[in-house]
């Protein structure tokens, strides 16, 4: 299934008196059908996650598979539904700095409490 990256046409002139207008931040993203396709992909990934949890796979296959699916769903929502893929990179930097700071801090916390030794 391919995602339609067609940009919604702007409903006002982009160029006035020969000077290109700054691109408005909301004039990008997918078409409505493109968003529906993304939602179908997300639903399939969720179904796959639930199926895997009942499949009785060994932990060294099951855990990475679930974590990869979780990361893929996260990235898909952030990139397409939250428009980070199409927006100014500064928004991506702001959000991912918070996310990676949280990941770093709480990985250190879990290591301090020897969480991974117990798991």
């Amino acid at each position: 299934m391919s995602i339609d990256h067609t940009i919604d046409p702007p409903d006002h002139a982009e160029v006035t008196q020969g000077v290109p207008a700054p691109v408005s931040e909301h004039e990008h993203g997918l078409t409505d059908m493109g968003y529906v396709k993304v939602a179908v992909i997300l639903a399939v990934m969720t179904g796959l996650e639930v199926t895997l949890s009942y499949a009785g796979l060994p932990g060294n296959v099951f855990m990475p598979a679930l974590l990869i699916l979780m990361a893929a769903k996260f990235w898909t929502v952030v990139s397409y539904f939250m428009h980070l893929k199409f927006d100014n990179p500064i928004f991506t930097k702001l959000f991912y700095s918070g996310l990676f700071l949280a990941l770093f801090v709480f990985t250190v916390v879990l290591l301090t409490f020897r969480f991974f030794d117990r798991s």
Partner: protein
């Protein structure tokens, strides 16, 4: 009598050079706004219909929202890691694998995921200035969110009847704190959605309407991505 230095720039031509160098003023020579370019959509530079151009050329509201969401990662990171540490401490109550109702949680996860779709369709309609579809999709999003919260209330009630309360053990405390915080976020989102529908219907949205819908959309999608993590780490991966 000391000489008084006279300004080199005439009073009618304010000197913007210093402000540009400091990054507090847009370079009017390099970024001349196009007449009429943002009459309908609000200011592409982020100030809204009555706002100001910003030094970054981006919406300050949007920057603030992304910064807020980045900080929310730290809040939920703390709650999730606390749950991970204490999920094995379920003395005096059934274990998580005995309590969790995966089919119910899967359906509520699907409902929340679909609410993200309806939210993005509302944003898309708002960008087309289609108020009728915007309010319809926002209402559907709020209803899907309410369904999710209803399922969570049902789940909490079931757990309580099974013997797991907030103070029963560390597992119960960390589980109810994490999922309860998320539920409160969804509830706040529903209130914002319904308030937005009311304001659109009364024509009381100040500034750029599409941007307001997009801001609430960003919050709603964030609530969804937090649930994507909770669903996998809390429900699907056994302790």
């Amino acid at each position: 009598m000391a000489d008084i230095a006279t300004p080199t720039t005439p009073a009618s031509e304010p000197d913007t050079t210093a402000a540009v160098a400091l990054g507090t003023e847009p370079d009017i020579h390099g970024m001349e706004p196009t007449p009429g370019a943002h009459d309908d959509h609000g200011d592409a530079h982020g100030g809204g219909e009555h706002g100001h151009a910003t030094s970054t050329g981006l919406s300050n509201n949007k920057l603030a929202m992304w910064m807020f969401l980045g900080s929310e990662c730290l809040l939920f990171g703390g709650l999730i890691s606390t749950y991970m540490l204490y999920r094995g401490r379920h003395e005096g109550s059934p274990s998580p694998s005995q309590l969790y109702n995966i089919p119910l949680t899967s359906v509520s996860s699907f409902v929340l995921l679909m609410s993200s779709l309806t939210m993005v369709l509302a944003v898309s309609a708002a960008q087309r200035h289609d108020d009728r579809n915007t309010t319809t999709w926002l209402t559907v999003t709020a209803l899907l969110g309410a369904t999710f919260v209803g399922a969570q209330v049902f789940e909490f009630t079931e757990f309580y009847h099974e013997g797991l309360g907030f103070t029963t053990n560390l597992f119960g405390s960390s589980f109810f704190t994490l999922t309860g915080f998320h539920g409160v976020h969804v509830t706040v989102g529903i209130i914002m959605l319904m308030a937005l529908v009311g304001m659109i219907n009364r024509g009381k949205i100040p500034g750029n309407k599409a941007e307001v819908v997009e801001m609430i959309g960003l919050y709603w999608h964030f609530v969804d991505i937090v649930w994507i993590i909770i669903f996998t780490l809390v429900y699907l991966i056994p302790s």
